[in-house]
């Protein structure tokens, strides 16, 4: 019966790993993209070559996850100690006379964090663009007034800029969380969930196409949906509020 599919989903060891990894993805990915995006939005506003750097950081958004997966697999490429290293990270380690690391194999933290880094590389530009628009929307007089009152740059950031940007940060955080709960392509291409890097969406795909177990796959899909429902409610609330302001 149907219940067994859910019992499987909540007791199977690989499924539990997938839940843990999705939680790690949500936590690390969301924090890093929003944080880095915020920092970049603020510091890039102070230099003249802003548009060039923005283009560079935004560029991965145009690349497919498959492409990004291959690009980063090459960055993480591992060869046994003594052989010439062709991945740039291990090349760097060998320069420092440190023995090479199997970035995508070292479980459970290094490899999962290395996969998350790829997604951060792609999505930081998105956060940066949105936060930068919000930052440039802050009236200049406000910041000037704070400066005249003798506030330091850090104080201005913490007391004026950040509170004013908080609504945007909140929206971005929900958007990033929704997005990352469904993460699939990067894991599929880079490790296919091996070495304890499984995630919910990849597991669902495997149940569906490798094991032809549509019952289990459906149960996993439903769980994914339930996890996203709170975010959906937040979105609808926000939409209704915006509707009132129109």
């Amino acid at each position: 019966m149907g219940v067994s599919n859910y019992i499987f989903a909540f007791t199977n060891r690989v499924m539990l790993t997938a839940f843990r990894n999705n939680a790690l993805w949500v936590l690390v990915f969301t924090t890093l993209t929003v944080f880095l995006g915020l920092i970049l939005a603020v510091i890039l506003d102070r230099v003249r070559y802003e548009t060039v750097v923005k283009s560079i950081i935004f560029m991965p958004m145009a690349i497919s996850f498959v492409g990004a997966g291959v690009i980063w697999k090459f960055v993480y490429a591992y060869r046994p100690p003594g052989a010439p290293q062709i991945g740039i990270l291990n090349g760097f380690l060998s320069l420092l006379n440190i023995s090479p690391l199997g970035w995508l194999i070292e479980r459970p933290w290094i490899n999962n964090l290395c996969l998350i880094a790829v997604a951060v590389w792609i999505w930081t530009g998105f956060c940066m663009v949105i936060l930068s628009a919000a930052y440039k929307g802050i009236p200049g007089q406000l910041l000037e007034a704070a400066r005249v009152d003798g506030a330091g740059e850090w104080q201005i950031f913490g007391r004026v800029t950040l509170p004013l940007m908080m609504p945007t940060v909140a929206v971005l955080t929900t958007t990033m969380t929704i997005f990352v709960l469904k993460i699939f392509d990067i894991v599929y291409v880079m490790t296919n969930g091996n070495f304890s890097t499984e995630v919910i969406a990849n597991r669902m795909y495997k149940e569906m196409f490798h094991f032809r177990n549509f019952g289990r796959a459906s149960a996993i899909a439903v769980i994914l949906l339930v996890l996203i429902v709170p975010m959906m409610l937040i979105n609808i609330r926000r939409f209704k509020r915006e509707e009132l302001l129109r």
């Binding site: 291959v70 690009i71 090459f74 010439p84 090349g91 663009v129 609808i236």
Partner: protein
């Protein structure tokens, strides 16, 4: 002197920015350089060694591109990607423009309810829809065909495209519509003569979005097209090369670079519209 102090005090700022920019560039640069190096070199030394003498052109070759496009099936896959992407972009944009106009300016029962459903749909993971739709496609003979994937991408693309266009079209001044109605224009006339020309930039940015989304998609193609090479788009082909050529980096990097050509030219050519589209508020399911 004061000027010098100011310049010096800004050095850490510049250093941080440049280091971040380098971290962002290096992975892609590595792939670009490797795709032009002969196989023995790629296996023997890191790609960065080629940068010691970057203008020594004898160390580069086009062989990798030749072999992925012919033997690697990337040429065929590129064509398939175009066949998939162009209708799967035009179709939803056409429907979305009409729908956005209706949601924004026409009064009909259930309008608000339908629109709230649409906002909810923005975040529904498409994984939840795969099994029922695939079963339907199997019954209708649409699985593994181009029309099937056009329909799938149209369905998945509509909520976001309607939402983005609604935000724009809904913000047009209402006097415009009032005076057009007084002049006796019909609803369709208002749409084609007024709304469409006025929202052309918004439509352009949404089109770019949908195009990149479909071009870069892997999951939808894997599920509804399966892995057969005669219909597989470039993302599916590249990911299957990862399986079969795992360590032949000169092959993989060339394949990836071909897959990035179109998205990157669109990105650098039309970055302005791309950014505008993102700022219009994007939450995609």
């Amino acid at each position: 002197m004061e000027r010098l102090v100011r310049v010096l005090s800004r050095i850490p700022l510049h250093a941080v920015i440049i280091v971040i920019a380098l971290i962002w560039v290096f992975p892609t640069l590595g792939v670009l350089v490797t795709s032009f190096r002969p196989a023995p070199d790629v296996a023997a030394t890191g790609w960065w060694t080629a940068l010691r003498v970057p203008f020594e052109f004898t160390q580069y070759t086009l062989r990798n591109y030749e072999s992925v496009i012919n033997q690697g099936g990337i040429g065929r896959a590129f064509l398939n990607s175009l066949i998939i992407t162009i209708p799967a972009t035009i179709l939803p944009i056409m429907i979305a423009a009409l729908a956005a106009y209706a949601f924004a300016w026409m009064r009909f029962p259930g309008r608000r309810f339908l629109f709230i459903m649409l906002v909810a749909l923005l975040v529904i993971p498409l994984q939840t829809t795969m099994i029922p739709i695939l079963r339907l496609f199997n019954r209708l003979g649409l699985a593994g065909t181009f029309p099937g994937i056009w329909l799938a991408h149209t369905g998945y693309g509509l909520p976001l495209t309607i939402y983005l266009l609604y935000n724009f079209i809904g913000a047009l001044p209402s006097e415009l519509f009032d005076s057009a109605t007084i002049d006796g224009a019909s609803t369709l006339q208002i749409f084609f003569r007024l709304v469409l020309p006025l929202s052309i930039t918004a439509i352009a940015s949404v089109t770019i979005f949908q195009f990149l989304w479909v071009w870069n998609d892997l999951l939808v193609a894997l599920v509804y097209l399966g892995g057969t090479p005669d219909v597989a788009p470039i993302t599916v082909q590249v990911s299957s090369l990862v399986g079969s050529y795992g360590q032949d980096w000169e092959v993989l990097t060339a394949a990836v670079f071909v897959s990035m050509l179109l998205p990157l030219s669109i990105f650098f050519g039309l970055q302005r519209y791309f950014v505008r589209g993102i700022l219009a508020g994007s939450i995609k399911g």
